[in-house]
Assembly symmetry: C2
Homo-oligomer: 149 residues x 2
């Protein structure tokens, strides 16, 4: 019996004493349909199409609430991590490679990530909930171009 993301979100928020508002429902819906990651600003702009009065602080507050409730997870993606992105809590093994020359971002995945999470957990006795990884370097094309210089 699977619960929709929206239901999970509502439950998690209510469980922590929070309330369900129209703005939050909009955000739950958007998050449920987001392909991969989304940052606060992009989410805000999508939400604004449905409710032009929604505010950026509301988006941030809702994202933080959902993050605290472990319904979504935050990661950094871009070359410089300059902005957080959020993701529904599944497919935690996907992370990103950013080419430092052309800036292209490639999603990558590896079974080693789960292995790493487990190893890490037993190493320090902690409960490793989030494992944020960002890889950087030269992509195949840029490597060729640089060696051709």
């Amino acid at each position: 019996m699977t619960m929709t993301f929206q239901q999970q979100a509502r439950d998690a928020i209510r469980d922590s004493g929070g309330r369900i508002t129209p703005q939050r429902e909009i955000l739950f819906d958007l998050l449920a349909h987001v392909e991969n990651d989304i940052d606060a600003d992009a989410l805000f702009r999508l939400a604004a199409q449905q409710d032009p009065n929604i505010s950026l602080p509301t988006v941030y507050r809702t994202l933080n609430t959902l993050e605290d409730a472990d319904v979504i997870a935050a990661q950094y993606v871009s070359t410089d991590h300059e902005r957080k992105v959020y993701r529904v809590n599944n497919r935690k093994n996907v992370f990103h490679f950013t080419c430092r020359r052309c800036g292209m971002v490639t999603p990558v995945t590896s079974k080693l990530v789960d292995q790493l999470r487990r190893e890490l957990g037993s190493q320090i006795g902690a409960d490793v909930v989030t494992l944020c990884m960002c890889a950087g370097g030269l992509c195949e094309d840029c490597r060729k171009e640089e060696s051709g210089l």
Copy 2:
């Protein structure tokens, strides 16, 4: 024949058309002797002990220059990545676990990291230079305390 970090830094900067200033020499020396990671502000305060006139923008500019030249690498450490830390380019397998409850930061290491870097490289054909990882969750003590609630 090993080169000191200071020499590497000087060479890399000169190779890219940069100049060696007294401020930069101070920073090279400090970086060479830093145990693990250091953030811009901490480096700035150390440098200020040697030259009270050194400025934070100079520290940032030098760090960025060294990062561009691959002499140092930048990573994020704290729970929210709110600040970059820099590290001399070795011991790349060390990363950090931050407890989201007490905020304690534990350095961890794993052979899987190198494995992951290689797997990643062959997966996308890229040259994976940096692999920044940040783990988060509950540390052993906090886990006990939370379950005892």
